[in-house]
């Protein structure tokens, strides 16, 4: 079975060593997804697989046949950005921009997780009554590093979208 990437089907690579990240960048030509550390530590490679955010650098492409992958290119375009993409622009939530695709994919999934009532390490209780406070956003985005240190504006961009109660 092929992998479905942003509504396009692509056959999985023959070489099992190809990570989902390298598959997206070098086989699918989707260079929005970035390679930072390549060890699952920085989050620059974050994409959505079947709606869940994962580090694509630690996933083998061959193991994801039949799965649906959404990358930053699949969330929106320069002419028709997603709400989160637009919020990152409006809040100047980046400096160099290298981590931004991963930040936006991560943040998009994160608000769905809060809407589903998934608790985090900083949630006071586990019952699922969670607000997208700055503390919750920081904890839930801790898998996405920004070496420019644009965190304050990243939190405000995500907070604005969360406040609109839609993703």
């Amino acid at each position: 079975m092929p992998i479905i990437i942003n509504d396009t089907s692509l056959d999985v690579p023959a070489d099992p060593r190809v990570t989902l990240l390298d598959f997206l960048r070098h086989h699918a030509g989707l260079t929005g997804t970035k390679k930072g550390c390549d060890h699952g530590q920085c989050g620059a490679c974050t994409v959505l697989v079947n709606g869940m955010r994962i580090n694509s650098c630690l996933a083998l492409a061959i193991a994801h046949d039949g799965d649906t992958v959404t990358t930053i290119e699949g969330l929106g375009t320069p002419d028709a950005p997603s709400v989160m993409q637009q919020a990152f622009v409006d809040h100047d939530a980046m400096q160099c921009g290298y981590c931004t695709p991963g930040q936006i994919c991560s943040a998009t999934a994160m608000l769905q997780e809060i809407a589903a009532g998934w608790p985090s390490d900083v949630s006071t209780n586990l019952d699922g009554d969670i607000s997208a406070s700055a503390e919750e956003i920081r904890e839930r985005m801790s898998g996405n590093l920004c070496r420019c240190g644009a965190y304050a504006n990243i939190v405000s961009a995500i907070g604005e979208v969360a406040g609109r109660d839609r993703v």
Partner: protein
């Protein structure tokens, strides 16, 4: 990454047959394994992908407990309604570890089998008896800030890095294992091994054996706490962690199931602590006595000496919170 063959078995028995051959390794979430393959710490000839043989279910057990499939993601377990309500310790431990991206991919079985984060183990230019038996231990006399203080050997002072298994040890969960046509059930407390003379062995799994599930016993009464001390407030391994289930009866401790992370090559469980604490009135002096017992054979290795007082204080803080006394 070194070349390898990727195979997707048709069933659990097929997977067991495939992993029985030499240098075949099961693939679950891959968050640790794929990373170690990039570093050439792991160089399997064959990867056996366990992901699509129906092991991701979380189901009620007949005795009122819960069976968590080996391929259930850490996220699926942490957010499961029964886990949140009856085993909050497990939710809290999982949520304290890694990041959401990693927890979405990581699995129950894979988490139990994750390797140490000792930097001598993950650097193939350094000696490491766990990675290459007989090559020596770089951490002994080296940078050992994160290393073990209990149950070490002259061969290895690495720690087991996880949080989930510490909670499972306190909860007295069992690891369900299938292989070679038979099934066995091992307490989490006995699943991981101390390094001894064979530090290359992390746990009791033999070639061809596969974890199918973790079984939680029926829930017990008591306060459940997971306290993790780390060097930053998110996305860091434990320096010390304490998992506790503590119940009180008429002002006295009636239950004290404790397990510790960051201290040893395995989630540390010392049954003498419950014997000491049960029936007693909580007090700072009692908690100190428990810490003395826990740490009576503790041995530091230079930089990790701070773990001894840190464990003492963290245990006291958790017991004080659980028994609602002021220290």
């Amino acid at each position: 990454m070194r070349p390898f063959h990727y195979t997707r078995p048709e069933s659990l028995n097929h997977a067991s047959q495939l992993t029985a051959s030499s240098n075949a390794v099961p693939l679950a979430g891959g968050t640790n394994l794929v990373d170690l393959m990039k570093l050439q710490v792991e160089v399997p000839r064959k990867l056996v992908d366990l992901n699509r043989i129906g092991m991701e279910t979380i189901a009620e057990a007949p005795d009122g407990g819960l069976t968590i499939g080996a391929l259930a993601s850490n996220t699926a377990t942490a957010v499961h309604a029964r886990v949140r309500s009856d085993y909050p310790l497990l939710s809290r431990a999982i949520l304290s570890g890694a990041t959401q991206q990693l927890r979405n991919k990581a699995t129950t079985g894979g988490n139990l089998c994750q390797r140490t984060r000792c930097s001598y183990f993950t650097n193939i230019d350094q000696p490491c008896n766990k990675r290459q038996p007989g090559s020596g231990c770089g951490a002994l006399g080296g940078v050992a800030r994160l290393h073990a203080i209990l149950g070490t050997s002259a061969q290895c002072i690495a720690t087991y890095p996880g949080d989930m298994a510490v909670a499972l040890a306190a909860l007295d969960a069992r690891v369900e294992i299938t292989g070679h046509g038979s099934h066995r059930s091992v307490p989490v407390r006995a699943f991981h091994l101390l390094p001894g003379d064979r530090p290359e062995r992390d746990n009791v799994l033999e070639a061809g054996e596969i974890i199918t599930a973790v079984t939680l016993p029926p829930p017990v009464k008591g306060r459940q706490i997971y306290r993790k001390v780390r060097e930053r407030s998110s996305y860091a391994f434990a320096l010390v962690s304490v998992a506790a289930i503590v119940a009180m009866d008429s002002g006295r401790i009636a239950r004290a199931d404790l397990a510790f992370g960051g201290l040893a090559h395995k989630p540390w469980h010392d049954p003498r602590l419950a014997d000491l604490l049960i029936g007693e009135q909580p007090s700072a002096a009692l908690f100190d006595k428990a810490a003395c017992l826990l740490l009576e054979n503790a041995r530091s290795h230079g930089e990790n000496e701070f773990k001894i007082p840190l464990t003492r204080r963290t245990l006291a803080a958790v017991l004080a919170e659980a028994t609602e006394i002021d220290l």
